[in-house]
Each structure stands twice: as structure tokens, then as C-alpha cells.
């Protein structure tokens, strides 16, 4: 049996499930909003036994952790405002332990652990280890360091270290998950010291590549956005009138090897890698998202990734 952990409206999971049905596979899908009973994590000197959501562990062959996580907190407890943050932290800890245990026993693709601890710096270090070119990067709280970095590069950008900006302020909301260019004017307005901030050299790109990967299978898609000022820095600043051209692309053999090496070093079984092909033709690693979107890659390139995933999950 295959266990799928996801969210109710995740279109990708729905499509993989359609394929699992077509192949007559047995699976159980547990969504983030449902309550999954934690029967036991039973430990002794002779055994480590886990049972979750009525699933017989001996029947479990593969797990695909697509999105979200199991929820062990019964529904009523999720609404107790004072108690919830504490209970959630406790739940979080056991979720991670269970994932680690199951990973040791089963073929477990995707990870709650990795999604939560998705640190850009760690990934950049792994990319560097894999001999992929990375942008010069600085994390600092010092304006002096920032200015030095700024003066040293043609252009610089900033983005989050881990968490996209999602602030509820008194005078409104502030959201940003994107990347933007840092200008002299912006720096002038900054204090001598500030919160830890990630800045990177700006790479002039020929085009971007999004590589969805599932185990060792890579699905690269080129995002041709350079002609369009709206999307020139970050394709997520979407242009609705004239959408970017998103097309199948191949990686040069040597780059492919390095990407696979990165995946191995980062211990990720699935995810989405962002790479820039610079004007000079260099492949520059930007970041990886452990629960990355694959729907648009699959549809724009006619890759049928969902079918491949279903076939992987039911294969012996």
C-alpha cells in the first residue's frame, strides 16, 4: 500500500491519485485538514513500532509526502487559542521523529522535515560542494558590510533567508515571497544595524531553469522571461498579458551530474531547483524548494510527471 500525505485541494495529488486509480493501486491519502489518529509510537529495547491512521505498517510499501503533514491534534484542540501553539510544537516534534523512523523502514519520498528546515544557506553550501556555481552571498546585520558588498558588485538583490514576508501590520498587510533589486537609495535609508538580511550578487540571466525532481529523475523547464522587465529579476512577478515562454530544456551532461550530486548531498528525495543560465552561459544555482510546484512544469512541457510519480509509487 502507498500512503499519500497532502492537502485537500492539491491538484497534483488529485492527478497522481487519478493515475493510481487507473492502475488499480491500493493507497491511502491523508490530507492536512483531517485528523490522523496516532495509535502508537511504541519503543522498547527490542522493537520500534509505529501505527498511524489505522494503517497496518507491514502493508505499507511507499510513502509520498507531497504537502502539509499528518495532523495528530484532534479537531477541537486546534481551536483552543492559548493551548494550541504549545500542542502544535509537541506535535511537530513527534511528526519529525515519525518521519525519520518511517524513512528508515520504507521508501519515503518528500519530507515534512526538509520543508520546515528549508534553509537557503545550507542549500547554497551543498550546491557549492557539488561544484555548481552559486551567486556571491552575504547575510549581515551591518550597513557597513552591506555597502561593501554593494560596491563590490554590479548589482545586488535581496530575498528571504527562510520565510517569505507575511506580516499583519496595524495599517495593513505586507506580503512578499519574491526577490528584488537593492538600490543605493534603499541603502541610504537603512540604519547602521538591522535584522539578519540576505543579499546576493545579481546575475544577468539569459534564462531561468526550474528543475522539478522526483528521486533521480529530473524534469527541467526553461523560463524565458528576460525580454520582459516585469519578470526580469524574478519570474514570480507575473505578467498576465503575455505569459513567459515555459518550455522543455535539456541540461548539459556535466551540469546534470552536478545537480544530481547536489540532490544527494542535500538528502532531498523530491523538490524543485531554481537555476539561472547567465549571459556568460554559466549555470548558477539559486535555491531549492523541497515541496516545489510541479503542475506548471508538467503541463507546459507535456511531461506527465504525475503519471511517472504514480508509476514510481506502485513499482516494486
Amino acid at each position: 500500500m502507498v500512503l499519500l500525505v497532502s492537502e485537500t485541494n492539491d491538484i497534483t495529488t488529485n492527478e497522481v491519485v487519478a493515475w493510481l486509480n487507473a492502475y488499480g493501486a491500493t493507497y491511502q491519502r491523508i490530507n492536512n485538514d483531517a485528523y490522523a489518529r496516532l495509535h502508537r509510537v511504541a519503543l522498547s529495547n527490542t522493537k520500534c513500532n509505529i501505527q498511524v491512521a489505522g494503517i497496518d505498517p507491514s502493508c505499507l510499501k511507499k510513502v509520498w509526502h507531497r504537502r502539509g503533514s499528518l495532523r495528530f491534534l484532534p479537531e477541537p484542540l486546534r481551536n483552543v487559542t492559548n493551548l494550541y501553539p504549545y500542542l502544535k510544537k509537541e506535535e511537530d516534534s513527534i511528526l519529525k521523529s515519525i518521519e525519520d523512523i518511517l524513512r528508515g523502514q520504507h521508501d519515503y519520498v518528500g519530507s515534512y522535515h526538509k520543508e520546515i528546515e528549508n534553509y537557503k544557506i545550507d542549500h547554497l553550501i551543498n550546491a557549492k560542494e557539488a561544484d555548481l556555481r552559486i551567486p556571491d552571498t552575504l547575510i549581515t546585520t551591518s550597513k557597513k558590510e552591506l555597502i561593501r558588498f554593494f560596491n563590490h558588485h554590479e548589482g545586488i538583490i535581496t530575498k528571504d533567508i527562510r520565510y517569505g514576508i507575511k506580516l499583519h501590520l496595524e495599517d495593513g498587510k505586507l506580503f512578499s515571497s519574491g526577490t528584488f533589486v537593492v538600490t543605493q537609495e534603499m541603502i541610504d535609508t537603512m540604519d547602521t544595524d538591522f535584522g539578519p538580511t540576505l543579499i546576493q550578487e545579481k546575475i544577468e540571466k539569459e534564462y531561468e531553469i526550474r528543475i522539478f525532481f522526483f528521486k533521480n529523475r529530473l524534469y527541467p523547464m526553461a523560463i524565458l522571461s528576460q525580454n520582459d522587465t516585469k519578470t526580469a529579476v524574478d519570474y514570480r512577478n507575473y505578467n498576465r498579458e503575455k505569459p513567459n515562454r515555459n518550455i522543455p530544456v535539456l541540461l548539459p551532461g556535466e551540469i546534470k551530474e552536478k545537480v544530481l550530486q547536489f540532490i544527494e548531498l542535500s538528502e532531498l528525495s523530491t523538490g524543485s531547483i531554481d537555476i539561472i543560465v547567465s549571459k556568460k552561459g554559466e549555470y548558477v544555482f539559486l535555491e531549492v524548494n523541497p515541496q516545489g510546484q510541479l503542475d506548471w512544469v508538467s503541463k507546459n512541457c507535456n511531461y506527465y510527471i504525475e503519471k511517472d510519480i504514480a508509476e514510481y509509487l506502485i513499482a516494486n
Partner: protein, 360 residues
């Protein structure tokens, strides 16, 4: 972007040129647009992809430089091509087509003569993995009758993603009631009310729910279907790849007429069984039922020479030659040999077929 004379060009791989008898069409499958091009440009794209513009001009002995520049200006403006040092890294898109469901779409007709239980039919369709169902009422109905139908789909967590209703106007189908129904059931993709006193389009309430159409059209029977019109062309990867192999109108579709007859299409006379006595799944799995699925555009007279053949809706119910399954759709007024559109009904050559289908 402008023409880059120093670099080879490649076509954007989800923009696909299709050659017709007299001109070609570039099917932009992600922007859902069609651009018409001369066959000369089709040949250039076909023969010279991966070369520099200068090389292409040379291969025509520099006799047509101006026109080649004009062609490439157009290709650049439409973002159909990319100039790159590494053309070998931009492969053609795989034109594979797969579909997990045996049946993707179903039409269910209900009239005063219907004696089957629509809920049971829907459960059967759901078992087969059907994704979209359109239910057409040729008799009056009301919210109390429709609600349990959709509600059942929720209860069984149906694979049927969307349901479309076509119903005659009745006092119960005022805007408020219909909107409330749509808000309650996200599965309802559209709600169309014919015989209405007004013509009105009500867009989805919160962009995720279904839309509503009130129309003063009188819906008598199925013979209104089958018109071929550019506004109905479906310019996307799924339809394009499906059309390469299968019939774009009928592949993986089933219809249950008001008497329960299982057909390929409500407008076709041939019934393969009846839901009251036969097993729907067995019927649709039969080679006989699926025969028309394999009638792709490349095998249809005239259509096989048409530049719109992989984005066209086709129609197998009304044919120019009713005796020939591979005949051009009767209600197509396009001539790919002259590139002209004419109202199909005005063509005297079609009178014989119109008489056959009782359309005169």
C-alpha cells in the same frame, strides 16, 4: 528582442506549426492563440530550424532577403522563436497524450420520457472515472431535484470534478437561488438557463465557483450541435496531442440520451445499449463503441489538409456525406483549399446531407 544575426534560432517548442493545403497555422498551445503563416514560412521553419538567419538567406541565394527579414520580425514579435548559442539544449516537446480516465466527459439528457434514476447513472459514471458531466433537462426541473444529485457527489467524494446543468427557465431559477446553489456546491462548473426572458452572463462569484447564463434561446433538441467555428477551437497541449491520434470531439466521451440509450454523442442515432439493461462499463469498453474514437483528423477527408486540424472541435454526428464516417463535418464552412469561410448552411452542395438529417 530583435533578430540576432549571430545566433541560430529554435522554435518555442509549445508553439507548433501545422501545414495546411494553402497556408499554415502556428498553434501557440500555452497562450491559446493561432497565428496564420504562409506555407513558405512553414517550410523555412521545417527545413532551417537551428540555423542563423544569414545562412537561411544564403540558401535561397539571397533572392528573398527582405521577405525572410519580414518573416523573422514576425516570429520575434510573437515570441515564437529564440536565438541561442545552444540550440541542441532546446528539444522538441514530446507530443505524448495520456489519460487516466476511460471516460472523461459524459452528457446526460433528461426529458419527460426519462424513466431512469439520474443518481444511479452518475454513480456508474463515477465508477468509470468520469471527470465532467453535463446534465441537460428537456423538461422543467427545480432546485429541490438538482440538489440531491450534486450532494450525492460530495457524499461519495466523487471523481467527477465538474457538473454542468442546462435547464429550462422556471420561477425557482432566479439569480439568488442559483447563486446559492453554486456557492454550496463548487462542483457545479456552470448553470445555463434557456427559454429565459433575458440574456445575461453572471461570472463566477469568487472566481472559483461556476458561472451562470440566462439565454432566451429555445432548446428543442440536439440538432443545434456540431457547428465548426474558430471561436470554439481549443488551442492547448491536451487537445492538440489528443487530436493527433484520436477524434477530438468523441474520444473518451459518452452520452446517455433521455431514454437511457448509451451513445457516442447525443446527436448520433446509433445506440450501443441502454443503461436500464446493459452494463455501461462493458459497453464503453467495446471496440464497437470506441471505433469512432480512432477517427482522427488526419483520416478525415478535407480536414486532413486543414491547418486547423489539431485544434478543431470536429463533429461526427452531422457529416457532408452521412454514409461516410470519414467525411468532413457538415457544419464546417471552411475550405482549406481556398482559405475561405462561408456560412455552411448556404452551401447548396450540403442540401442532400441537410435533408438526410432533417435540417431543411
Amino acid at each position: 528582442m530583435t533578430i540576432n544575426p549571430d545566433l541560430p534560432f529554435v522554435l518555442i517548442s509549445n508553439c507548433i506549426p501545422v501545414k495546411g493545403a494553402k497556408r499554415s497555422a502556428i498553434c501557440d498551445l500555452t497562450r491559446s492563440e493561432i497565428r496564420l503563416i504562409p506555407n513558405d514560412l512553414y517550410d523555412i521553419l521545417d527545413l532551417h530550424e537551428g540555423k542563423r538567419v544569414g545562412e537561411i538567406k544564403e540558401s535561397y541565394q539571397n533572392k528573398h532577403d527582405a521577405i525572410i527579414d519580414e518573416y523573422f520580425d514576425f516570429l520575434v514579435r510573437e515570441e515564437f522563436i529564440l536565438f541561442t548559442e545552444t540550440p541542441e539544449l532546446f528539444p522538441k516537446m514530446d507530443l505524448q497524450y495520456h489519460e487516466p480516465s476511460d471516460i472523461t466527459n459524459a452528457i446526460l439528457d433528461i426529458s419527460e420520457y426519462s424513466s431512469f434514476d439520474p443518481i444511479k447513472v452518475l454513480k456508474d459514471l463515477n465508477e468509470i472515472g468520469c471527470k465532467h458531466v453535463e446534465i441537460r433537462f428537456f423538461r422543467s426541473t427545480n432546485v429541490d431535484e438538482l440538489q440531491p444529485i450534486v450532494s450525492m457527489l460530495n457524499d461519495i467524494q466523487a471523481s467527477i470534478i465538474s457538473i454542468d446543468f442546462i435547464v429550462p427557465q422556471s420561477p425557482g431559477f432566479c439569480k439568488e437561488n442559483v447563486i446559492e446553489l453554486l456557492l454550496q456546491y463548487p462542483r457545479i462548473a456552470s448553470f445555463k438557463i434557456y427559454n429565459a426572458s433575458t440574456n445575461e452572463f453572471i461570472p463566477p462569484v469568487d472566481k472559483q465557483r461556476g458561472y451562470i447564463i440566462y439565454s432566451d434561446t429555445i432548446l428543442k433538441d440536439q440538432r443545434c450541435c456540431g457547428v465548426i467555428d474558430p471561436s470554439l477551437f481549443s488551442v492547448n497541449i491536451k487537445t492538440f496531442t489528443e487530436s493527433l491520434k484520436y477524434n477530438s470531439c468523441l474520444h473518451r466521451k459518452v452520452s446517455i440520451d433521455h431514454l437511457g440509450n448509451i451513445k457516442n454523442c447525443p446527436s448520433m442515432s446509433k445506440a450501443f445499449g441502454n443503461i436500464k439493461v446493459d452494463n455501461t462499463e462493458e459497453i464503453i469498453s467495446s471496440t464497437e463503441f470506441q471505433q469512432v474514437w480512432l477517427v482522427n483528423k488526419d483520416s478525415i477527408t478535407t480536414c486532413k489538409d486543414c491547418e486547423f486540424r489539431y485544434v478543431c472541435t470536429d463533429c461526427r454526428a452531422y457529416l457532408e456525406n452521412p454514409e461516410d464516417l470519414y467525411s468532413k463535418p457538415l457544419k464546417c464552412g471552411y475550405d482549406p483549399y481556398t482559405n475561405t469561410w462561408e456560412p455552411w448552411a448556404n452551401n447548396p452542395l450540403k442540401d442532400k446531407a441537410k435533408a438526410y438529417y432533417n435540417m431543411l
